[in-house]
């Protein structure tokens, strides 16, 4: 009896239901999960206004590009009605004016876009308008960096800090200043290095020299170009505060 069976060979386990089981699991995970997609338009709010703070910053009228959206989602730009799709061109002209047209900005660094909304404005319209303004700035920055707009949007700062050239520069930056073991992490130093602004009056000439030398060490990295572009075209959107505090 035993011998007979052995001769037949082991019977194969029927695996056809395996696919069904796997499909069931797959469907379960598809339904129960969501793809991590944390994307959007980032902005930085102005700092909290102190009650006793009534300093007024004077901004030249020409450096301010006033965009108003009313409760019917219509656009008023510099006192003229405008369609939303024209806004990007308008903003581009305003930023890159460089003092030519007396009604538009002195320089990209001074240009400020003021965005005022009504209580009844749709969030959807606000996002479209903000998107247009951002598009203008992103286009200019991408051009400044010599990359495409898509590459600019996909730029990932945390990936870029792995760049060997950038690491070398930061290392040199620290060495010259004699601050190789001050407890600050490498990430902090990379940030310090990238944030350094040559045009600002710096009290520490050693730091200044260190920066200049480090910057010329190897070719300009994308991270540096990114910070330069942001410096040349700072996105300055001023949003009106609610009327009761004005």
């Amino acid at each position: 009896m035993f011998k007979k069976r052995k001769k037949k060979g082991l019977e194969e386990v029927n695996a056809s239901s395996m696919a069904d089981i796997a499909f069931l699991l797959l469907v379960f995970f598809l339904v129960a999960t969501q793809v991590a997609s944390e994307k959007g338009l980032a902005i930085l709010l102005p700092p909290k206004r102190e009650d006793d703070d009534d300093t007024e910053i004077e901004i030249k009228e020409r450096n301010l590009y006033v965009v108003i959206i009313n409760s019917r989602n219509q656009l008023l730009v510099e006192n003229k009605q405008m369609k939303i799709h024209q806004l990007k061109r308008g903003v581009l002209e305003f930023i890159t004016n460089n003092g030519r047209n007396p009604d538009l900005s002195d320089s990209p660094g001074k240009a400020i876009v003021s965005l005022k909304t009504d209580m009844g404005t749709d969030y959807k319209t606000y996002i479209i308008v903000l998107d247009q303004i951002k598009a203008a700035y992103h286009e200019l920055r991408a051009k400044h960096m010599g990359i495409t707009l898509k590459e600019y949007l996909d730029y990932n700062a945390s990936e870029e800090v792995q760049n060997a050239c950038l690491k070398k520069k930061v290392q040199r930056f620290r060495e010259i200043q004699g601050k190789t073991d001050d407890g600050e992490s490498e990430d902090d130093w990379i940030r310090n290095y990238l944030k350094y602004d040559l045009e600002k009056k710096d009290r520490d000439p050693k730091r200044r020299d260190a920066y200049i030398e480090a910057r010329e060490l190897c070719g300009l990295t994308l991270a540096e170009k990114y910070h330069d572009a942001k410096h040349v075209y700072p996105l300055q959107i001023s949003e009106a505060e609610p009327s009761q505090t004005q």
């Binding site: 999960t33 338009l41 903000l130 992103h138």
Partner: protein, 152 residues
Amino acid sequence: MSRFRNKERETPAVSTASLPDIVFMLLFFFMIIAQPRDKEILVDQKLPKATQLQKLEQKSLVRNFWVGKPKNIGKFGREARIQADDVILTSDEEILRLVAEYKGSLGAQAGKMTISLKADEKVKMKVLTDIKEKLREADARKINYSTVKSSK
């Protein structure tokens, strides 16, 4: 004659033995890229569309506020409301408390916290302006308007 014979011969069935492998591969792929949906969203969520999207870098530093018309109109009314964590806030003042809580949980990295506003496109700006004022007050200034990619 040979033609006849061909027709009579049975064509072998396509082997489906590798099907489970393929499906399991897909399964593991989804298991890895997806993360469990831990919060039930109690408000309408149709995010607005935009083109200039940028990725938020450190997800662990992101806290969400959902804004929209409540799904349960009978309980919460028709007006747009704010949801944080699992609950719908009763007043804007709660934002201050929540932000302080979030900051406490992040410790030294509190300064890098980003608030992601997931607002329904039908929401009026008044609601958002109020939230932004509260966030300014709570010194949570990095915010992100969550949007989806426009097809244009």
